[in-house]
Subunit: 282 residues, 2 copies
DNA sequence: TTTATTATGAAATAAAATTTCATTTTTTCT
DNA sequence: AGAAAAAATGAAATTTTATTTCATAATAAA
C-alpha cells in the first residue's frame, strides 16, 4: 500500500511528536527522501529517536527502509494526479496536464467500480431482449458509443439523446429489456424520470452514475463511476472518458460471455468494413 | 530516467569490477534495495568503495541515493501496459485490464502528440469563421463530442457523421473555415475525399489520425494520436478515448487563448443548466 | 621493458541510524 | 485533586553504514 496514504490513515494513532513528523513528510515528501534522519528531526522540531519510532509504527524496519517505501510511493503516486490547468500554461503544459488528469480519473474510476456489479450487468445484458442506452449532453456521446458497440453484437439496441424519445421508449419497455441510463451528476430530472418510468414497466434499469444520486436510487444496478469532481467543473471531461471505458468493459464482458463462436461473427462485421478503406501498403 | 535502463546502457563504460556490481543489481534489483553497501560488495565479490564508485558513475550522490533511485525505478517498473483480455478472465480481471490498457494508450498518445501542432491548431481554431468536425463510426462519437464542447464557446460549429452531409459541407467550405477530420485508421476512403474536398476549397484541414496515413497527407496539420494497434483489433476502444482526450486539450487551449472574460461566459452556460437538475442536499 | 594511467581494496574516517536509559508528560485510578 | 502507572520523549552512547584516503595491483601506452 502507498505509504503516504498509510500515514494519512494512521494520523490519529500517532503521538503528538510523531504527528509533527508526519506533517513534515506529507508537506514535502520529495524533500524528505533526500534528508537524513537528523535533518528531518530538526525540521519537525523533535528528536531523532522519535523519527525512528515513527518509521517503525508504519511497519518499516527503520528510517532508511521508510525512505525506500516513500520513494516508491512517490514514483507511483506523482505521475497521474489531477493537475489543474493554469492561465499561463504552454501548449505542452496543458496537454500534459489534461492527459495526466484523465489517466488519474480512470484510475479513480476503476477503484470505484464494483466487479460484482459489472458481472451482474453483463449477465443481464447477454439475456436482454432489447438494450437501450439513454444519456443527455456529454453522456449522450457515451450512449451513442455504447449503441455503436452493441450494434456489432447483432442484438436489438437503441440509443436516444432526445428527452421525448427517451420517455416514449421507456414507457414502451417491458420485462426482459435492459435500460442503461448514463448521467455523471445523476441529477438531471428528465433522466431520473425516464429511469423511473422504465422501472415501472418492469425493465431492468442499470445506472452509470455517481454513488448516492437520485438516479442511483431508481436503478436495479448502479455502476459507480466516481471521478474527481473539479475536473468536470466547466465541462464534463474526465467523467465521460471513464464512462466510455466502462462501456468497453461491458462490451468486452458481453463478448466473453457469448463465447468464441460469437467472436467470429464480430470479425466478420469488421472484415466487411475493409472494402471501404484504402489498403495498407506494408 | 529509469536507473535500470541506465545501468544497461552504460554497461560498457564500466570497469570490470563495476560491471560485476551491475550484474548483481540487474539480476535481482529488489534484493539490492534492502542490502547494505557491504552486503552488495560481498555479493559481487568486490570491495565497498567499488560499489560506491559505481553509484557515482551513474550520477547518484552515493549508495543510499542510488538505492532510492533503484526503488523508484522498481515502483515504476510495471506502470500501465496493454494487458490482453483472456477468454477465462473474471469480471474483475477484464475490468482491470481494460482500464489499464486505456491508461497505457493515453500515455502513448500523449507521447506521440506534438505540442507545436496543438498550439498551431488552437491558433487556427480561435480564428476560424466556422469549425466543422467530421468522423465516421467510432470517430463520429469523437466529432459529436467536439461539437458539444465547442458549441459552448458560442462559435459556429457543425458536426456530421453522414457521408453525404460531410461532402456537401466540405464543398461549401471556404477560406477561414477549419475542418477537423477524425479517423483512427486514416484510410476510410470517403473521409479522405472529404478532407481533399475541403482542402481544394481553401479550408484549413486538421487531421486527428495516425501518422503517415492517406488522410494525414491531405491535412494542413496532423494531430498524431498513436495508440497500440491491437487494442483496436475488433473494436475501436483506446484510440477513440485518446482522441477524446485530445479534443479536451483543444477545447482547453481554446478557452485559455480566449482569455478570462470568455471563461465567465462559459460559467454562465453551465449555470443555466442547473435548473434542470435536482439540487444537491449537502 | 619501462612508465604512466587507471582500477582496486584495506584501513581510517566520517556520517547516519539505532539503542539505551533517564526525564518529562500524560493518563488512570483512588 | 493528587498519587501512581503508563506512555512519550530526547540526550548520549553505541552500533551500523557509507565514504574517503592512500598504498598497491592491474592495465595500457610509449
Amino acid at each position: 500500500m502507498n505509504i503516504l496514504e498509510k500515514i494519512t490513515n494512521e494520523l490519529d494513532m500517532l503521538s503528538k511528536s510523531e504527528r509533527k513528523v508526519a506533517e513534515v513528510i506529507l508537506a514535502s515528501p520529495s524533500t524528505v527522501i533526500h534528508s537524513s534522519i537528523a535533518a528531518l528531526a530538526k525540521q519537525a522540531n523533535i528528536s531523532e529517536p522519535t523519527v525512528n519510532r515513527f518509521c517503525r509504527r508504519l511497519d518499516t524496519k527503520g528510517y532508511p527502509d521508510f525512505k525506500l517505501h516513500l520513494a516508491q510511493s512517490l514514483a507511483n503516486g506523482t505521475p497521474y494526479v489531477n493537475r489543474h490547468v493554469d492561465e499561463n500554461d504552454s501548449a505542452e503544459e496543458y496537454t500534459d496536464k489534461i492527459f495526466e488528469s484523465t489517466m488519474a480519473s480512470l484510475e479513480l474510476a476503476r477503484k470505484s467500480l464494483d466487479a460484482n456489479d459489472v458481472n451482474r450487468s453483463v449477465d443481464l445484458l447477454t439475456q436482454a431482449n432489447k438494450i437501450s442506452f439513454f444519456g443527455l449532453g456529454a453522456s449522450a456521446i457515451v450512449a451513442h458509443d455504447a449503441q455503436n458497440k452493441f450494434f456489432r453484437f447483432n442484438v436489438p439496441v437503441v440509443y436516444f439523446d432526445d428527452i421525448l424519445m427517451q420517455r416514449m421508449s421507456a414507457i414502451n419497455s417491458r420485462q426482459g429489456d435492459v435500460v442503461i441510463v448514463i448521467s455523471h451528476t445523476g441529477r438531471t430530472k428528465s433522466l431520473v424520470e425516464v429511469a423511473s418510468l422504465a422501472k415501472e414497466n418492469d425493465a431492468t434499469v442499470i445506472g452509470i452514475t455517481t454513488k448516492g444520486t437520485p438516479l442511483a436510487k431508481e436503478c436495479s444496478i448502479v455502476l459507480t463511476v466516481d471521478v474527481c469532481e473539479d475536473t468536470d467543473l466547466y465541462m464534463p471531461m474526465s467523467s465521460r472518458i471513464a464512462q466510455l471505458a466502462l462501456i468497453d468493459v461491458l462490451a468486452t464482458g458481453f463478448t466473453l460471455r457469448r463465447g468464441s463462436k460469437f467472436r467470429d461473427n464480430l470479425k466478420k462485421v469488421k472484415d466487411s468494413l475493409r472494402s471501404s478503406r484504402f489498403e495498407r501498403k506494408d
